[in-house]
């Protein structure tokens, strides 16, 4: 894998730091006129999602990380692993609950999602920004209530619980923003 020096650190560059794959968020060159040059770097650990600030002596190098984002289809959950498939090669990948994390709340069979691969192994799963899911459990709908006063919890087919307006009924499909977990609208089947 290629080696990158501090002057090449740009937002989005994937590097190995402390044996974990990381992604650069921001890189600032700091140099006193008569002194040592440093690079102050904001970097995200792609395994834990944690953002940290690190300082390097300018000219230091880090090894690149073989990290790529791939669109895949979510197939099924076998209890221990979730399975994903590349659309063009039909190659399949599996990821355990630790890697899938909260993304599992939004994954419906056959839906497309983004799988981040590190050295060809799944590192993280990102669901589509908007997903359409069925409500499997909620209090009965209240006719005439169209404004958003309050709302009620609704359990979806994937296990996620979101707040929905009172008029939304069980077995209806709704559209949800997976980044915020918020209800967007009803979906007519």
């Amino acid at each position: 894998m290629a080696v990158y020096s501090t002057s090449e650190f740009r937002a989005g560059l994937k590097l190995m730091l402390d044996n974990d794959p990381c992604s650069i968020i921001e890189n600032e060159f700091v140099k006193p006129g008569k002194g040592q040059a440093f690079n102050r770097v904001r970097i995200r650990n792609l395994k834990t999602g944690r953002v940290m600030e690190r300082t390097f002596k300018s000219g230091e190098t880090l090894e690149g990380a073989d990290v790529v984002d791939v669109e895949m289809q979510y197939l099924y959950n076998d209890g221990d692993y979730r399975h994903f498939m590349m659309q063009d090669t039909f190659e399949q990948y599996q990821a355990d609950a630790k890697i899938v994390g909260d993304a599992g709340l939004w994954l419906k069979d056959q839906d497309m999602c983004t799988v981040t691969l590190w050295n060809d192994l799944p590192l993280a799963i990102t669901p589509a920004n908007f997903v359409e899911l069925e409500i499997v459990e909620t209090d009965p709908g209240v006719r005439g209530d169209t404004s958003g006063g309050g709302g009620k919890p609704a359990k979806l087919s994937t296990g996620a619980v979101v707040r929905v307006p009172l008029f939304v009924a069980q077995n209806e499909f709704i559209k949800v923003d997976t980044r915020t977990g918020e209800y967007i609208s009803r979906v007519k089947e």
């Binding site: 600032e28 060159f29 700091v30 140099k31 006129g33 002194g35 040059a37 440093f38 300082t55 390097f56």
Partner: protein
């Protein structure tokens, strides 16, 4: 801005001069990387260096009896690009014969008063040791690995320990850059004087306290704007410092520097007692126009040059 500067110095009888940007010799400072070009005179060719500052040429003029002089010119520092850095930038550098550092600081304050026309709060002057202790609680003049490391750990800057190790000068660069400088000169001019001796290649050591050098740095809103010295005029001492910097460059595998023998000859002939300072005009323009990056005040920054 340039016009105001020229009027300011004309009214004080300081001469404007122009010196070559290309020189047969380079700076020796291991922290400043120079650009090298080639002068072709077939069948021969010679390396020439773009100046990292006009200091050496201006000192030669001083030794030749120019009296107080100033210059507005380009300076070049290889590899420096960022929010506050461009490898090619504009310097205002001036030398005052028979000025000590305090007199030079008075003049710097007067110039900024003129340029900012009352937009800044009252200027502050503070010694390096004082301001360093205020923001870190550490003694800047006496190095203690334990105390410095403990502070870095407490500030969540553990990288400092691996980067700086046992080097006092590196620790000072690191802690000053990240823990002190950002607080200096909130909408006001802040002059920091009395730098630790290990941080000052071309300044004289203070006569009363040899742990500090007669060096001053200029800050507004945490941005470093300039650096000045009560100039070293001892040719033998200068030669010794050149040699030690050239050795340091060798140890760090940096490009070989060519010692400026013409400067040494001029110092030997006799540099008058003087103080000098260089200010980064692009950064001053950034502060005047409240620009977030140096690229905003340049026609074309290096990425588009």
């Amino acid at each position: 801005m340039l016009q105001r500067i020229r009027v300011f110095f004309a009214s004080r009888n300081v001469w404007e001069v122009e010196t070559p940007l290309l020189s047969h010799a380079s700076g020796t400072d291991s922290q400043l990387a120079f650009f090298t070009s080639t002068y072709e005179t077939p069948p021969n060719s010679q390396s020439l260096f773009l100046q990292t500052s006009p200091e050496f040429a201006m000192k030669r003029l001083l030794a030749a009896g120019s009296g107080s002089i100033y210059q507005i010119c380009k300076a070049f520092r290889n590899g420096e690009a960022g929010r506050f850095h461009n490898p090619e930038f504009t310097i205002l550098e001036w030398y005052r014969v028979d000025f000590d550092l305090a007199q030079l600081m008075n003049e710097v304050e007067a110039l900024f008063d003129d340029l900012f026309a009352g937009k800044l709060n009252a200027p502050q002057r503070v010694s390096y040791a004082e301001i360093f202790a205020q923001f870190t609680g550490l003694n800047a003049l006496i190095f203690s690995f334990e105390a410095y490391s403990a502070f870095a750990t407490q500030q969540n800057l553990p990288d400092a320990i691996t980067i700086c190790g046992e080097s006092h000068a590196l620790w000072l660069d690191f802690l000053f850059s990240f823990c002190v400088q950002p607080h200096l000169g909130e909408n006001s001019l802040c002059l920091v004087y009395g730098y630790p001796a290990c941080q000052s290649a071309l300044a004289r050591l203070n006569v009363e306290n040899p742990l500090v050098a007669d060096r001053v740095e200029v800050f507004i809103n945490g941005i470093e704007l300039g650096n000045g010295f009560y100039e070293l005029s001892d040719a033998a001492e200068q030669n010794r410092r050149f040699d030690s910097e050239i050795q340091l460059r060798q140890r760090e595998n940096l490009p070989v520097a060519i010692k400026d023998e013409r400067l040494l000859a001029a110092l030997e002939f006799g540099l008058p007692d003087c103080s000098g300072i260089a200010l980064g005009l692009d950064r001053i323009l950034m502060v005047l126009t409240e620009s977030p990056a140096i690229a905003n005040v340049l026609s074309f920054a290096i990425q588009r040059a």
